[in-house]
Structures are given as C-alpha cells and as structure tokens.
Symmetry: C2
Subunit: 108 residues, 2 copies
Amino acid sequence: MKNDLPQPPYYAVIFGSQLSGIEPDKYAQMANHMEALAQQQPGYLGIESAKNEVGFGITISYWKDLESIKAWREQAEHLEAQRLGKECWYASYELKVARVEGIKAFGE
Amino acid sequence: MKNDLPQPPYYAVIFGSQLSGIEPDKYAQMANHMEALAQQQPGYLGIESAKNEVGFGITISYWKDLESIKAWREQAEHLEAQRLGKECWYASYELKVARVEGIKAFGE
C-alpha cells in the first residue's frame, strides 16, 4: 500500500503460496532476507504481502519491466531460496507475471 | 490456488486493502456475499485472498477480459458494497488492473 509506485505500465509478480509448515523460522528468516535483497535489484518498484492463519499467503512484487523480473529470478541467492522453497517450505505455489495497466487508490 | 485458471492472457484485479476495524461482522458478511456474486458474473475466472492479523488483505480476482471487469465494477449490489467500503470498512485500499501474461505452478 505504501510503495509509491510509478504510473503504469509496469509489471507484477503474483506469488500465491501454501506453506508446508516445515521449518517456519528458517522460512521467515529467508523470506525477510529475500525481500531485502529484492529491494536492491535494478527495476524493483515495491512489494506487498499478506498471509492468513493457515499459511496461505499472497506476495506481489512490482517491477519496471520483464528484464528486471528475469534478473531477479536468476539472482544466485534467490535461486538457492527457490530450491529450498520447493524442497521444504512450500506445499504448493502459483506464480503469475502480469502487466499492471491501471491503478486507483482510496484513503491515505 | 485451486482456481483452474485458463492459459493466459486474462486479467487480474489486485485489491490491497487496510480495514478500518469498524463493523467487522458486517464487512465479513458483505465480503462473502460479494465473492458469491462475483462468481456468477460473466467472465469470472477465479479468486484468491489472504488477510493478515492487522487487517491488511490482498484479494485478487481473475477475469476473462476488461469488459467483464467493467461489468462487475458497475453491478448494482457491488456499487453499494463499494460505497459502504469507502464510508465504513476500509481505511485505505489500492486497486490495480493487470494483464496476466504467464503462470507457473508447483505442488498440487
């Protein structure tokens, strides 16, 4: 909500995931680290995230263009996090790449 | 996650919101009703939602095309829900319309 995104168009990576419940502390630590790392990537615009009490979460990261998304996907530490995610932390996930075309805000 | 979405392209309405905390029961009832109503709209493809413990939530609904989104936005009961949302239930929200271009899944 507080990302100060530019005017569209730009890109969103929509990541919906169900945690396995294995190693929740390690997962949380890695998730925080990945968020900090993403913020340093070229083309990073912002992130928003919500997770409910049964471990289903949606994280959306926003990016300048598809090249920025590709570079982040292939970043070395992120590749290792993706591997651990599939091996341990996620029961399932679904990742969508979408082009943001319009935005409308209400409230502060 | 279990929406059985078609192959892209299609559209996503990304709704990130911070609840005010006013009338939580009425809000929850209306949110359920709106979800049921959306499912009956032409062009509706699916929905996913997560809300954290401080009332920040992300709901993403998926639609065949921009016309379907426009029709849903202008549906009479939904207009009334939007009005009440701004008047009472939301402290703030941000709504983005995005064109889903790619999808990748892991797990069941």
